[in-house]
């Protein structure tokens, strides 16, 4: 009897101790949660599903998510190695493989549901595809950064240098507009015609596009050869306004290589790599090699800037951005293809909260993470150029307190 009493007491004591302990910890967790929080992600190694027809992706240099949560990517079939293209040889040299068509559309489950692209009648397909954007009307915009020498299939050396796909002057001086079925609608600019950063008719290696639905205006990050953001009427293609860094008139004078210890450059360096408008009307521009985001009003008035990973040399740190899908777009996700990570940034203050990813070829790792987009459920999609050559999905897993500045690779976690 006494023994039973003891056992009962031990049970009660343990339960009370655990109760008290968990209450204390919950309070602490509440304090932690009230601190800095950021969206949490987990890589989905099963996305997308294997491509049909022995198709391969080359440098995957653009991603966009449309209103139906279909994921659109564009890649460069020409960047594949000879052995990767054996099936396309005449006669086929082996059972595998060949380049997939340039534009691929996936559904949310990762099934390939559409594909098109390549040269055609009435338009100049880029020698080196670059950037894809599905606009608010569902139209698909494509840029390019090919140089004259890149009209021929790129060499191995050229393929290894994403910002210089050829060796001559930039030839892809246009953006193209298509329907989702791949029907050609419009071209702005013409190959080899650019007269520089103050030319209203042509672009020069346009990197990324965004269409503002309020004014039906196309914003182009222009680009690999020019040093500006330029705005067009999205229906007529007529240029409306443009500007360079800090809202200055753009100037093509060479700035020399980036020096992290020098004062911030008065002009964008090449490439001007993204131009994205948030719901509140602010325009965010990726000044890639200057390692900075510059923020503008739609009329080109400079608002603010922030420097990301200042010591990054070479290709720079600010490759592409996407906004979180809450109506306030509280967070910016920034793809840094040099340091191989995605930063989660508070849009309001441009403060880096945390980052994830690392260099490598396993799921959740990156090699030259080039483009980034979010869907309506908050999931992130990234594409990789150079020899990365893939698209990855990071599933949104809710908000979590920030415990690490650098989360590393987001491999799925064990149950807590």
């Amino acid at each position: 009897m006494k023994r039973n009493l003891y056992i009962g007491l031990v049970f009660s004591a343990l339960i009370v101790a655990l109760g008290v302990g968990s209450t204390v910890l919950e309070k602490r967790a509440a304090v932690e949660a009230a601190g800095v929080q950021a969206p949490r992600f987990e890589v989905d190694p099963m996305w997308p599903k294997p491509l049909p027809n022995h198709w391969l992706l080359g440098m995957t240099i653009g991603v966009s998510v449309d209103a139906q949560d279909h994921i659109w990517i564009i890649h460069r079939g020409g960047s594949l190695e000879r052995m990767e293209n054996y099936l396309a040889a005449n006669p086929p040299a082996s059972e595998c493989c060949m380049a997939a068509p340039p534009v691929l559309e996936f559904d949310e489950e990762g099934n390939l549901i559409g594909h098109w692209g390549g040269p055609g009648q009435g338009y100049d397909w880029p020698a080196s595809n670059h950037g894809i954007t599905v606009d608010y009307k569902g139209n698909v915009w494509i840029g390019g950064n090919g140089r004259t020498a890149a009209v021929a299939p790129p060499t191995q050396a050229a393929a290894l240098n994403e910002s210089q796909p050829g060796s001559g002057p930039f030839n892809d001086n246009m953006v193209l507009k298509f329907t989702q079925d791949g029907k050609f609608l419009m071209q702005i600019g013409h190959p080899g015609q650019s007269k520089g950063s103050n030319d209203l008719e042509n672009l020069k290696g346009p990197a990324k596009m965004f269409v503002d639905k309020d004014a039906n205006e196309l914003y182009v990050a222009d680009g690999y050869g020019n040093h500006r953001v330029i705005v067009f009427d999205a229906d007529t293609g007529k240029a409306k306004r443009y500007w360079g860094a800090y809202g200055h008139k753009p100037d093509d004078t060479s700035l020399g290589p980036y020096n992290p210890d020098a004062p911030p450059a008065p002009q964008f360096r090449n490439p001007v790599h993204c131009a994205e408008i948030a719901n509140d009307g602010l325009l965010y521009v990726c000044d890639r090699v200057n390692d900075r985001i510059q923020v503008f009003k739609k009329d080109g008035t400079f608002v603010k800037e922030t420097i990301i990973a200042k010591r990054t040399l070479g290709d720079g740190s600010v490759w592409d951005i996407a906004f979180s899908k809450d109506p306030q777009q509280k967070y910016i996700f920034l793809a840094d293809g040099s340091n191989e990570k995605v930063y989660i940034i508070l849009r309001d203050t441009l403060e880096i909260l945390t980052s994830f990813g690392d260099g490598g070829r396993q799921p959740g790792e990156f090699y030259a993470v080039h483009s980034i987009a979010t869907d309506s459920k908050g999931n992130i999609f990234t594409t990789e150029t150079y020899r990365g050559q893939r698209v990855q999905k990071f599933v949104y897993k809710g908000m979590a307190p920030v415990t690490k500045k650098d989360q590393g690779v987001l491999w799925p976690k064990k149950a807590s």
Binding site: N4, I7, G8, F11, L14, I15, L18, G19, G21, S22, L25, E26, R28, A29, E32, A33, E42, D44, P45, M46, D66, A67, Q68, D107, N111, I113, G114, D135, Y136, K137, G138, N139, T179, Q180, D181, K183, L185, K213, D235, Q362, P363, V395, K397, P401, T403, K404, V409, W411, P412, K413, K414, A415, S416
Partner: protein, 482 residues
Amino acid sequence: MKSPASDSSSAACSKSRRHLWISIFIAALVFLLPHALLAHDIPNDVTVQAFVKPEGPKLHLLLRVPLNAMRDTEFPERGAGYLDLARVDASLREAAMVWIADAIEIDEDDIRLPNPQILEVRASFPSDKSFASYEDAYAHVTGPRLSNDVQVYWNQVMLDVLFEYPIHSDRSRFSIHPGLARLGLQVITALRFLPPDGVVRAFEFVGDPGLVRLDPQWYQAALNFVKLGFFHILDGTDHLLFLFCLVIPFRSLRKLIPVITAFTVAHSITLIASAYNLAPDFLWFPPLIETLIAMSIVYMALENIVGGIGVQRRWMITFGFGLVHGFGFSFALRQTMQFAGSHLLTSLLSFNIGVELGQLLVLVLLIPLLHAFFRYAVAERMGTIILSALVAHTGWHWMLDRGARLAQFRFAWPALTAAMLAAAMHWLMAMLIVVALMWYVAKRWPLKFPLGQGPSHDPLATSATQFHSVQQGLETETGGEI
């Protein structure tokens, strides 16, 4: 007067001209048809957004459907295929009637409502966000149209339509049969029901879900979930194979009762826990469970082959595997919990009852079959080995396939946060309370099972001892061997 020759030559001439026209027509068909078909392909996936709102003597059904899903309707175009917005209303109304209104049935207290009236139609940009709430969507569909000069490609537009049905009361019980599956290869309907009491209920169907009760009575929900559970177990080959393994050595309902009960209790625990969001939501969790289910089959089959299994041992192992299968059931149930209305627990229990009924049916069929098999075809021991080996083989392949899928995930330990520790302590507390209760029950009613060995002095061993007593009792009653 024309000569017969000239008649015949003119007839021949008109005939050859007719042939020419027919040939041109056929050639045109051949060339144009693929393009026409291309333009009107069945879309891969279509998402329909819908609101159902009874209000006074009217019920409003507000829908958004992509226009490319309306395949046989011709929409007026201009320029490079842009929708001619000035002339589009009549086609939108026709499409709304043919593709939507005719395909949807709404019942008020099980009586079908008459055809609705179209109050408004609008063409909208695909990126329009107004269908996030009923108020915004209603304001949008009754608000200004897109300007006539907007260039928007015809098959990238959304059709928004507001239907109105006459009803007797907004407090009636409504059901809807959204027969929209023909809109695309995969059609997802996201529907929100807004009854007058203000509690919005969200549904999401894939394809044609049949008649959906938007606000079911408890018995309607229960019946629905009994059916779901019943057909789920009959449909789930892996659960059936597991059950088959359980049955092979014990071909008597009486002996199987403790085993099946353990399975049922265990899967109910994890199923209900999952429904209340207590299961991990990691991406690797479903593949892990699927792999474990395959392992459970392999294990049971191997145990049968090795032989010498007692009911008590099988009861305990089945309990463990039952926990795993419960998670498996929960994945199947995830999409259907929306049909529970406000009767979540009733529906969960009903699902379990359905699963039980399904299992009983399988047992009732299997037991005599196995008896006959062992009596007339193969000797019992050999038969057990052969059947179990076949099952083990299937289970083994499933295990490898599912294991390969699971292996694509890499694991890392999570950071030790206060929230995680607190959650772990809660689970520990719950487990301690269960153990304490079991201990108390065992102490309080030690003589409930007269055939047992009596209460043990080891309190934690008592419940197991009691079970052993039950099992011995069963053996005595049935005279069977273990």
